[in-house]
Assembly symmetry: C2
Homo-oligomer: 276 residues x 2
Amino acid sequence: MKLFNKVVIIGTGLIGGSLGLALKKRHLAGQVIGLSRHKKNARLAKRIGAIDSVGSSIDAVKDADLVILATPIEAIISLAPKIAKKLKKGALVIDVGSTKERIVSKLSAIIPNFLGCHPLAGSEKKGIANLENDIFKGTACVLTPTGKTNPAVLNKIKLLWSRLGARITILPAKKHDQILSLTSHLPHAVAFSLISAVPEQFFTLSANSLRDSTRISSSDADLWSEIFLSNRNNLLTALSIFQLKLSGLKSALKNNDQKKLIKILKLAGNKRKKLG
Amino acid sequence: MKLFNKVVIIGTGLIGGSLGLALKKRHLAGQVIGLSRHKKNARLAKRIGAIDSVGSSIDAVKDADLVILATPIEAIISLAPKIAKKLKKGALVIDVGSTKERIVSKLSAIIPNFLGCHPLAGSEKKGIANLENDIFKGTACVLTPTGKTNPAVLNKIKLLWSRLGARITILPAKKHDQILSLTSHLPHAVAFSLISAVPEQFFTLSANSLRDSTRISSSDADLWSEIFLSNRNNLLTALSIFQLKLSGLKSALKNNDQKKLIKILKLAGNKRKKLG
C-alpha cells in the first residue's frame, strides 16, 4: 500500500539507498527520486533499482510528499534551510542521522513537519555498493519527536518504519544521544583506539579476537568525526565511564588479584550473553 | 601418513578436541586417547570421534609417543611434574596454551622433549560442543623452542602442525607473549571493560557495532584470568599504550579538534584495512 506519492532521498549511500530499495520493493512510494553529491552514486542507485530517477537539483523536493535526508550530519544541517524554502505545504521531512539532538533542534525550528529518525542499521561499509535488501527488518529505529511534533506526522512515519519491519522506539533526542553514546559511539571510539595501539608488524599473529573487536574501526573517518563531535559531551562521559572500568581491570591485574579479576570478567561475560 | 603411534590429549575442550579430530581425520596418529577433568567431556569427545578412547588416569601417558597438554595454563603447569615422571624415553610433549613464557620455563626444565606451541585458533566459545573440523587450517601457530630444544623434536612438531594446515612461526616465548599481549590479550581486556561500561537497559538500542566489538567478552572468565595473569607485565604495558591512544582521541574530542579527530580515525581505519 502506497504511503507517499513522491519521495525524495538526499544521500543515496548505504542507508539512503537501502531505504529507496525497501520503499520500492514494498510499494510504499509512487516514485522515488534520489540525489547525491556524487552524481555517480545516484546513477548507480538507479541502476540497482533503489531509486526511479536521479534528481538534477535540490529543486526536486518541490513537490515531494516525503523528503528523506540521508547524508552525514553536517550536510543534513546545511541542506535544511535550502530545502525548507522549497517544500510544498504538508510535505514531511525525516532524517536518518546517527545523533539527534543537534539535528532535531536545527531542523524542527525551520521545517514544520520534520521528524528525526535513527534506524540502527549502519555498517562500517559505506556506500551504495554495500546496499542490502531489508536491512531495516528487525532493526531498532528511534523516532525523536519534540513537544511540537504533529501527531499525524509521527503516526505516518511510524507506519512507514513499521512497514519496513523496524522495531520502533520513541525517545526525546537528548535521551537518544545519551544512550547511543554508550551503545554505539563508545564502541567506535574504543575500536579506533584499539587498532591504533596494535603495531602493524604484529598483525600476522592476530586471531579473530582482534579482527572482530576492531572491525568497526574501518568506518568512514569523516562521518564518524561528525558523529563524535555532534555528541561530544555524552561521548566524553561514556569514555570516562569506560576508562574507569579499564582502570579497575588494570588494577586487579597490577595487584595480582585473581579473585577480583575473575569477578570482573564473569560479570562482563554474563552481561554480554544478554546482548545475544 | 602416521606421525605418531600413540597420542594422549589432556584436556578435550575446543582446542584439544579439535586437535584430536584433525589428527584422526588426517591419519596422523595410530590412536588418540583423551583425558579430561570432566569425564563427561572426554566421553563426548569419543562419541564425536575426536578421540579413540577415554583414558582412565594420567597413567595413560606412560607409553605415549606424543602428549598434548590442552588444559588451561595453571593446569598445564601443575600436571607437568606428574607427567614427567611417567613418560617413556623419547616421548614428545607439547602444550597449546595462550601464553608461553611461564609454561616454557617450567616445562622445559623437567621434560626433555617439550616444545611450547600456540595455535591461534581460540574462540569465545569453549568446550567440545563447539568443536570444529579443521580450525587449524590457515591458522597461525607459534612454536617457542628454547636454546636447548632438540632440533629433531622441533622438526617433528613443525611437521605435525604443517600437516594440520597451520602457518608456523618460530619465536622465543618471551617475544610471543609480548606480541600476543597486544594482538589478543589487550582486545580481550578492552572488550571485557567495554561491555562493563554499557548499561544493560540500553542493550535494546545497540547495533552490530557493540555486538561485534564485545563478542569476545563472553570468553571463559577462569581461563582468561589465567592468561592475563601469566602475561601480566606485557598486558599492563599494552593497556598503557591503549590508554594513551584513547586519551589522544578524547582530547581531540574535548578540544573540538575535528582535523585531529579525522586524522586519528583515518590512520586507524587504514591500519585496520591491512588486517583484512
